[in-house]
Symmetry: C2
Subunit: 347 residues, 2 copies
């Protein structure tokens, strides 16, 4: 099961271990699972671009795009699992970006009250973020990830050859979460990102592979220590409170939405947490260098109303992630009227 470059890591949670195979190939799946008892789920774009990879595998193909990350897509997956006679011995593997891994993890978690599942993330965003941590679920209208479960896959398999056909805009999208990790946890990585560029990482499988593995380790270390998000894990929501509120209304890619959300969170950090204006500028600069949007040009009334349904709202307060410094974040409970005032002044 080994190949030359492959690196295997194992992360332990309360009820299971997740095996992560870096720098390996999709073909390895054949040695990992019984093909007869396995069903793959992917989206129409990946299936069209990499059809040969799916040859001989029973495959459910879903529609591509965040607008299809909804209950109807899950219902359709379940209908197809029934048609394939999936039972409790069946393993489900999601091959795709965050929409595919979210829907796969959620459908596998509720079908027959839970089948085993694995992920082959194919986008940078899914590789460094979406497929990690056990959160699986769907949007309900404009509300992001409103419905879902926490349940970990058995394994993740990283095949960087999928990145060769990943559109440029998806590369940019993924770097938003990488910059987020740098902002909240890793000042040296922030510096590395400042020194290098998207081209540098795009030009070599080794460069991007190393960065991805580093980000997976950052996220797993946080998640393993706080599986049910009672403390440190909440920091991963940096940029996501306002980011999620604008993503579905403004129909922005996830990376663009949280880029704007991170800048808003930096400004809020200035107001209530003594974060320096110069640092906000550095974050803005870095996002901009990785071609992410930085202008706060949104419908405030609409956004505020969605914000009020955020999972991090607790009664009349919002648990908000602020930066203390670059590479260090914390949670502040902000009363909604105060948050509203700062929010209204954002520009």
């Amino acid at each position: 099961m080994k190949n030359k470059e492959m690196v295997e890591k194992e992360y332990r949670f309360s009820d299971r271990s997740v095996s992560v195979y870096f720098d390996t190939s999709f073909g390895m799946l054949q040695d990992m699972v019984d093909k007869e008892n396995t069903i793959l789920i992917t989206d129409e774009n990946i299936f069209a671009k990499q059809t040969e990879k799916f040859s001989g595998w029973r495959t459910i193909v879903i529609q591509a795009g965040e607008q299809y990350k909804n209950q109807q897509a899950v219902d359709e997956v379940i209908e197809q699992l029934i048609e394939f006679n999936a039972d409790r011995q069946t393993i489900i593997i999601g091959v795709g970006g965050g929409v595919v891994t979210d829907i796969t993890g959620y459908a596998a978690s509720v079908y027959m009250r839970g089948l085993k599942f694995g992920f082959v993330p194919t986008s940078i965003l899914a590789m460094v973020d979406a497929s990690i941590g056990g959160k699986n679920g769907v949007d309900v209208g404009v509300y992001k990830n409103l419905v879902g479960v926490i349940n970990h896959p058995q394994f993740l398999l990283y095949d960087y050859s999928f990145l060769e056909t990943l559109p440029e805009k998806e590369w940019i999208n993924g770097f938003a979460e990488i910059i987020k990790h740098a902002c909240i946890k890793d000042e040296p990585m922030f510096q590395l990102l400042q020194e290098k560029s998207l081209d540098y990482f795009h030009s070599s499988r080794e460069n991007i592979g190393k960065l991805i593995q580093q980000n997976v380790e950052i996220k797993y270390n946080v998640v393993v220590n706080d599986e049910y998000e009672t403390g440190e894990r909440k920091l991963l929501n940096f940029g996501h409170t306002i980011g999620h509120a604008i993503e579905n209304t403004a129909k922005l890619p996830h990376g663009s939405a949280i880029s704007i959300g991170m800048i808003a969170a930096c400004i809020i950090s200035e107001k209530i947490n003594g974060f320096s204006k110069a640092h906000t500028e550095k974050v803005k600069q870095l996002l901009s260098e990785y071609h992410l949007p930085v202008a706060f040009n949104i419908d405030k009334e609409k956004t505020w109303n969605i914000l009020l349904h955020d999972k991090k709202k607790s009664g009349t307060d919002m648990n908000f992630v602020v930066l203390d410094d670059i590479g260090k974040a914390s949670i502040k409970k902000i009363p909604l009227p105060e948050l509203r005032q700062i929010f209204d002044a954002l520009k």
Copy 2:
């Protein structure tokens, strides 16, 4: 929080304790939860009969009947939770029979990846079975409970006054699960049921209260010892493999379906487990005395095809619950062709 008769029991699971309050009153809810942060879910029948009980509580009213235990009902509950601005501080309480408690437990488990919830079971079936054990979910077409999660409520509250307005056919329905418990676990209770009658239990709150509490304890003891159904808990599926397969196609009440399923399982127990024909007759007799159907008059082809999607199917075998004796059951792995042969001969 105590009243004179109330008995409180606590059952511990891996991630939580369930508090069970027997012989208490619905009004106690006010002392148990913060009314402002609580949303009740009930069905149209219970709401119509007991409207005054819901006064002052935010209440979601769903359609009554097994045919509405589906994803659409869950979607509608979620829409209403959004309208009520439910957040992670909100507690959801299902007040009703098995359909209400299943939908409540499932919706509460996936909304924002899980809110706290409690149950007030109002039918015998929900009191002795459906509300206990953490299995919550919905049907998909003819497939019973195909989608769901295992997740326990914080508490169960038993108010026997709900039984006063429970229709006679629902009393009968509930006794199927009580007889099941007797068959697999409790020979003395089997004898008690033989000696007494539906009228005996119906006529006095003390008689039915005692029987309900006994059945809750049987079920919780099994479930606490085998939370994830790796062993003993499977025995609770006695009568349910064939029962579930006929329930939605023949549009039978759950109790009627599993009554027929239990007799089929007794005959299968004769064929492969040396269970005596005389004992099958005793089970049949008892079901009959409690007004449950015992004739195996079903569409076999249709039933068999549904059976093949049972959650207890494992590859080419079915894990089937058989009786060793009255009060003692075990699991036998039956190859599908052999099961098919016995099934075809049932009459």
